[in-house]
């Protein structure tokens, strides 16, 4: 099969590449529909626009004193500019056979939805002047992540041939001034998710978790005698006599899992958003964008 491997990879790369422009395009369209326009950060910081005059503090350097304003009064004033400095947003999304699944043909696969949301967010952020970094699955290198800083390159990287499957982010401690957006189905065991997230949040990065689920994964519409199979075929198949009997127990478990995730995020100061692949992506995108761009109201260091 050695000879056929490059062929297979090439063909899968081709299918992926053919998916790329539509993906980028749909992401652009989605991003355009949620674009809020260019705006300041509504707080002082490095920037060009005037923000406020404030009394001189000893921590300010002497060069910061606005002498013209100081001359009008007795106190020394410092001219604050509106903070327009860009933050780095680290983007990650899960990929793997478990995501490449949908319950019905009219629903996009979870992978599609993850990629679309991530790319659309990247476009939005790029327009907003933020710095982007893409944590590709399988890479543990922050510089490589930071090198991937445009939506196009992210898209290219995303569709790089056969990315290794990963359903939890790499345990990289991200710099504290950064933000992280992590999209996936988060169906891995909580015991593996927790240390990874804690490692990421070690330096106090602000994180946003998005859980993309297929509606069937939530509703569990199966009934009758069913044999359940893992998409990656790593687990033994599970045959259940009456699938409908298991619905309540399953949903309870899923809720437990989601609650644990939400609790973890809260303890890290992160946000946790749930999304179904049959919902329009704009909602989750708007919510993400706003939490990313609006000033922090709680916690977090300035």
């Amino acid at each position: 099969m050695a000879s056929s491997l490059p062929t297979r990879r090439l063909s899968s790369a081709q299918t992926l590449a053919s998916r790329l422009p539509p993906l980028l395009l749909s992401a652009q369209q989605i991003a355009a529909s949620v674009s809020l326009g260019s705006h300041g950060r509504r707080r002082s910081g490095p920037g060009e626009d005037f923000w406020q005059f404030r009394p001189y503090d000893r921590s300010d350097s002497a060069q910061a004193i606005d002498w013209r304003q100081t001359a009008k009064a007795e106190r020394a004033y410092v001219r604050d500019r509106e903070w327009s400095g860009a933050q780095t947003v680290y983007l990650w999304r899960a990929c793997g056979p478990g995501l490449d699944w949908r319950s019905a043909p009219q629903v996009p696969t979870k992978q599609d939805r993850c990629d679309t949301v991530l790319l659309a967010l990247a476009i939005l952020l790029h327009h907003g002047g933020e710095r982007l970094a893409f944590l590709a699955t399988g890479s543990s290198d922050l510089t490589a992540a930071r090198a991937c800083n445009t939506p196009a390159s992210i898209a290219a990287r995303m569709d790089h041939a056969a990315p290794p499957a990963a359903d939890i982010p790499p345990a990289l401690a991200l710099p504290h001034a950064a933000a992280a957006v992590m999209i996936g189905d988060w169906l891995a065991p909580f015991e593996t998710i927790e240390p990874a997230l804690r490692a990421v949040a070690e330096r106090g990065v602000r994180g946003h978790l998005v859980q993309v689920l297929d509606p069937a994964e939530d509703a569990f519409p199966y009934q009758g005698r069913t044999r359940f199979d893992d998409p990656s075929h790593t687990m033994p198949m599970l045959t259940i006599g009456r699938a409908e009997d298991l619905r309540a127990a399953y949903q309870y478990r899923l809720n437990q899992h989601q609650a644990a995730l939400a609790d973890l995020c809260r303890s890290l100061g992160w946000t946790f958003t749930r999304h179904h692949s049959d919902q329009p992506p704009q909602r989750v995108l708007t919510a993400l964008y706003q939490t990313l761009t609006l000033p922090l109201t709680h916690g977090g260091r300035r």
């Binding site: 478990g98 994964e217 199966y222 005698r225 069913t226 599970l238 009456r242 478990r253 899923l254 899992h257």
Partner: protein
């Protein structure tokens, strides 16, 4: 066998399977239906949960019941249930079937075979050992023996080949065969016949093989042998005699009928039919008189009055019609075959009475076709089919002639004596007057016993320059004359005659008036005749050439001669008798056998030449070496018939008590085999079960509204199509309509064999297409001619493929007549044997159709160049081709082409246009040549000898004025 009242099981062991049903129930109950597989990424979340829910899924109870019922039905079906109203006792007693496979069983043979098959089926389900005894002596001359069969199926196989023989039964030999088998079985360990049930399919007659001929004469004594056989059979066990009951026949009874020798009448034939003596009920049948081509020339209904066992009827036929009869054949309305007894062959002596022409004065030099020679006129006047021998008296008497025409003979004493001896023995002498007779000395004339009346010397000339009397015309025929009824033309004038001598007639005691057969207008006789011994002497008082009268130039002359020659036929009563002039010992080789079904076939290897020691005694049918049929050389064939010896048919004796006599359908309510309905029901239930299982597993496609709409539309379409198909079928089932006849098209005979018919259809279609493409002929779709229904008259060519002897089954009297009529109208019959192996079958069909002798296709025949230059009509196989000799036809166009070249296989193409058969040799080039054969054959059928006429084209062109 297992017997449960009226329900019995052929294989009750299969019922043991019911014991396994509860086990199956349990197994099916705990075996859940196969789950469907669902890919589910959050499988991990389910893992712990699975144990909390019970996994045993039950098959729905109704599905279980369905499966059980299906299995039970299958088990019952496999046990071979048989529903029979009569109790089927466990009978291991062997069954002895006695069959009278005689000529008298041919009438109703199909009913007999059906009953026999039913009986064997019955025996097969009972697994009884079987023995079969056929009472007619076997063809190969061996003794009548008892055959035993292990299984009824083997017997069935053997008996399906059984055909009635053309002779009667030998119950004495049959009894001896049974006794022999009994003694043999006691000697060996087999106890087959120690106790057996006997079923005897009787032909309704007692044994016709009596030990002495004298015993045969007494009808009441004849059944003794049959009685003895019945007693022996009854001693074995039970005896059931099965004969066709009169009530069974819808039209006419199935009792044996025997056509006996007919009698000639002046205006037809009197035919007689016998039936067994004991029958009382009125009965009727139909008898046809056929010519050599198998065409019915006349037919009559023959009715037996109550209590009468000999019925007769008269067939009205003109005398030349009588002369060309070749056989009499019963044509029962029920469509049964007449059998050998229902056919009476008329030998060549009936039709062709050889006529000898004695030339005048022995001077052969004038007989060179001169218009002045009397022979010319006589030869032309005689019917063309009459064999004519010419020559001096000594040579003539060597031939088996019955009529001799002597044109003014000059005989020496020796010849005279020989001739009168011949007349005394039954010969008919037709003598013409002439100069020799006129010049005969009076002494000789008075002693001449070869004159019907004494005549005066010299001749009487009328209308000459020395006579006052004008030439005399014919006035008429006395009522006793055999010439009565002939026209009296006014323009016949007699100029010279020999006068009868009334005084000498009175002196010799001859009644001149009684002997006068035709008179002139002055009352003098023109023709006189008198019986002499067994024969006749006829004198025409004028000459045979036009020198004395213009009688030889008139239309009366041939008619008169035909009547007079016919005297010779009336003279001999026994048609089967040999020629009068035959020698003491005549060895007649077999020419054709009449088989038991009443059909002429090639003589079997066991038929021996017939020896006629006494020409007057009719020969007798002797099984198996002298079956009925035709013996002798062509033109002098002697017919041997079952009815030659006219004697009463001995009926069955009255059996002792204990013998059951039933009809052929005695088992009015035969057992019903319930196997098919049970197995079918089981199969249907299993299909239903699998559909339901699929539905339960969700594997059936969900029927969405538009899908069901589509299915509904599809079903409606199918229904509509099938409905639309019906009228077309009805149209096809119609007999040929007028529309079929409007276009020129090929026709083929539907044989009933699907493969052969498909080949024929493909061949005709492909050939029609080829002909339409290559020639100016445009042909419509070919049609299939159904046997006995469709008239072939509208088609230029009829194709008949022949595979094997089964084609003979299609040769029915109606078909023979149809084809004869068709050929008469100029149609062409193409008989296509499927390869050289089929040659005997082709020959048999040609024989059965009465197509006469075919000759090999000559190299220079028009068929070889009717369109293409072809060599002997090649086909797929390398066979041979025969045609009807063109000289047999007035127009020189043969109406029969028979070959074994398998043309049809070469022509045949399937619906897609691919050849159905690969060529044996030569590849597609040979196929092309075969198509050329077909084109030639059709163009020959359409244009006849047109191409042959073109041979003369160069000379015609030369004669044209330049």
């Amino acid at each position: 066998m297992m017997d449960l009242g009226s329900l019995a099981f052929g294989a009750p062991l299969a019922l043991i399977g019911f014991a396994a049903l509860p086990v199956l129930w349990w197994l099916l109950r705990i075996t859940p239906p196969l789950p469907r597989t669902q890919v589910f990424p959050p499988l991990r979340l389910l893992v712990g949960l699975a144990e909390t829910s019970p996994t045993s899924a039950h098959t729905p109870w109704w599905l279980l019941v369905l499966r059980m019922v299906a299995l039970a039905l299958a088990l019952i079906g496999l046990a071979q249930p048989i529903l029979s109203p009569e109790s089927l006792a466990v009978r291991q007693r062997p069954l002895l079937v006695v069959i009278d496979d005689t000529w008298s069983a041919a009438n109703g043979w199909s009913a007999r075979q059906k009953a026999l098959a039913a009986l064997l089926d019955h025996a097969s389900t009972q697994q009884r050992p079987l023995a079969v005894l056929t009472t007619a002596p076997p063809v190969d001359g061996t003794a009548v023996t008892l055959q035993t069969f292990e299984t009824a199926n083997a017997a069935k196989q053997a008996l399906s080949e059984l055909r009635p023989k053309a002779w009667g039964s030998d119950h004495r030999a049959a009894r001896m065969a049974v006794e022999h088998a009994l003694s043999a079985s006691t000697a060996s360990s087999t106890t087959l016949l120690s106790a057996a049930d006997v079923v005897w399919f009787s032909d309704g007659l007692s044994s016709q093989h009596a030990s002495t001929p004298d015993a045969m004469a007494d009808v009441t004594a004849a059944p003794a042998e049959t009685q003895a056989l019945a007693e022996v059979l009854q001693r074995l066990g039970s005896l059931t005699v099965r004969i066709p009951q009169p009530t069974q026949a819808t039209n006419g009874s199935l009792s044996p009928l025997l056509v006996v020798a007919p009698q000639r009448l002046p205006d037809g034939v009197r035919v007689m039919v016998r039936r067994p003596v004991g029958l009382d009920s009125p009965d009727s049948t139909r008898l046809e008189a056929l010519d050599e081509q198998g065409r019915a020339l006349a037919s009559a209904d023959i009715a037996f009055a109550s209590g009468q066992h000999l019925a007769e009827a008269e067939l009205r036929l003109p005398s030349d019609g009588v002369n060309i009869l070749s056989s009499l054949r019963l044509a029962p309305a029920s469509g049964e075959v007449p059998g050998a007894g229902g056919v009476f062959l008329l030998g060549d002596h009936w039709r062709h009475h050889p006529v000898g022409l004695l030339s005048s004065g022995g001077t052969q030099t004038t007989a060179g076709g001169s218009l002045l020679a009397a022979e010319t006129y006589i030869t032309r006047a005689l019917p063309p089919e009459v064999p004519l021998f010419q020559g001096p008296l000594e040579a003539l008497l060597q031939h088996p002639i019955q009529t001799m025409i002597a044109v003014d003979p000059l005989l020496d004493e020796h010849q005279h004596a020989a001739l009168s001896r011949w007349v005394q023995n039954g010969g008919v002498l037709i003598r013409f007057a002439g100069p020799t007779l006129a010049a005969q000395p009076a002494r000789d004339r008075l002693q001449d016993d070869l004159l019907a009346v004494p005549v005066r010397s010299g001749n009487r000339a009328l209308g000459g320059s020395l006579s006052w009397t004008p030439p005399l015309s014919l006035s008429g025929y006395p009522p006793h004359s055999p010439l009565t009824g002939l026209p009296v033309p006014k323009d016949v004038t007699i100029r010279t005659q020999i006068l009868a001598d009334p005084s000498a007639a009175i002196a010799s005691g001859a009644d001149l008036d009684r002997r006068t057969w035709a008179t002139l207008s002055d009352g003098t006789p023109l023709i006189t005749g008198a019986p002499v011994g067994h024969g006749w002497v006829v004198l025409v008082h004028t000459s045979a050439d036009p020198s004395w009268s213009n009688l030889p130039l008139s239309g009366l002359y041939p008619a008169m001669l035909t009547r007079l020659v016919g005297l010779g036929r009336n003279a001999t009563t026994a048609e089967t008798g040999a020629g009068i002039g035959a020698g003491a010992q005549t060895l007649l080789p077999p020419a054709q056998d009449l088989n038991g079904l009443g059909r002429l076939v090639a003589p079997s290897a066991f038929t021996r030449p017939l020896t006629l020691s006494d020409p007057q005694a009719a020969p007798e049918v002797q099984a198996p070496h002298h079956p009925p049929g035709l013996y002798g050389q062509a033109g002098q064939r002697v017919a041997l018939n079952l009815g030659s010896l006219d004697r009463p048919l001995p009926p069955l004796p009255s059996f002792r008590s204990g013998v059951t006599v039933t009809g052929l359908t005695a088992q009015a309510s035969p057992s019903t085999d319930l196997r098919p309905p049970f197995l079918l029901a089981a199969l249907l239930l299993l299909v239903l079960e699998s559909v339901l299982t699929l539905a339960l597993r969700g594997l059936l496609p969900r029927l969405k509204p538009h899908t069901t709409g589509g299915i509904r539309a599809f079903l409606l379409l199918g229904l509509g199509l099938s409905l639309a198909g019906f009228p077309s079928n009805a149209r096809a089932a119609d007999s040929l309509s007028v529309i079929d006849a409007l276009a020129t098209r090929l026709a083929y005979i539907a044989t009933g064999s699907p493969t052969l018919d498909a080949t024929s259809a493909g061949a005709m279609r492909a050939l029609s297409a080829a002909i339409s493409a290559r020639t100016a002929v445009s042909l419509a779709e070919p049609v299939a001619l159904q046997p006995g229904r469709d008239d072939p008259l509208f088609f230029p060519l009829i194709y008949w493929p022949i595979q094997d002897d089964s084609a003979l089954l299609l040769v029915t009297p109606e078909r023979i007549q149809q084809l004869a009529h068709y050929r008469e109208q100029g149609g062409l019959l193409v008989i296509d044997g499927q390869g050289p192996d089929s040659e005997p079958a082709v020959a048999a069909v040609v024989e059965a159709l009465g197509l006469g002798t075919l000759s090999p296709l000559p190299k220079d025949h028009v068929l070889n160049r009717a369109f293409y230059i072809s060599a002997l009509l090649p086909g797929r196989a390398n066979g041979s081709v025969w045609i009807e000799p063109p000289e047999n036809r007035l127009d020189g166009v043969s109406t029969v082409i028979a070959g074994t070249n398998a043309w049809g296989q070469a022509w045949a193409k399937d619906d897609k246009g691919y050849p159905m058969f690969p060529m044996i040799s030569g590849g597609e080039r040979t196929r092309e040549l075969a198509y050329r054969s077909g084109v030639n054959i059709l163009l020959y059928a359409l244009t006849g000898t047109y191409k042959a006429d073109q041979i003369h084209l160069p000379s015609l062109l030369e004669r044209l004025p330049q």
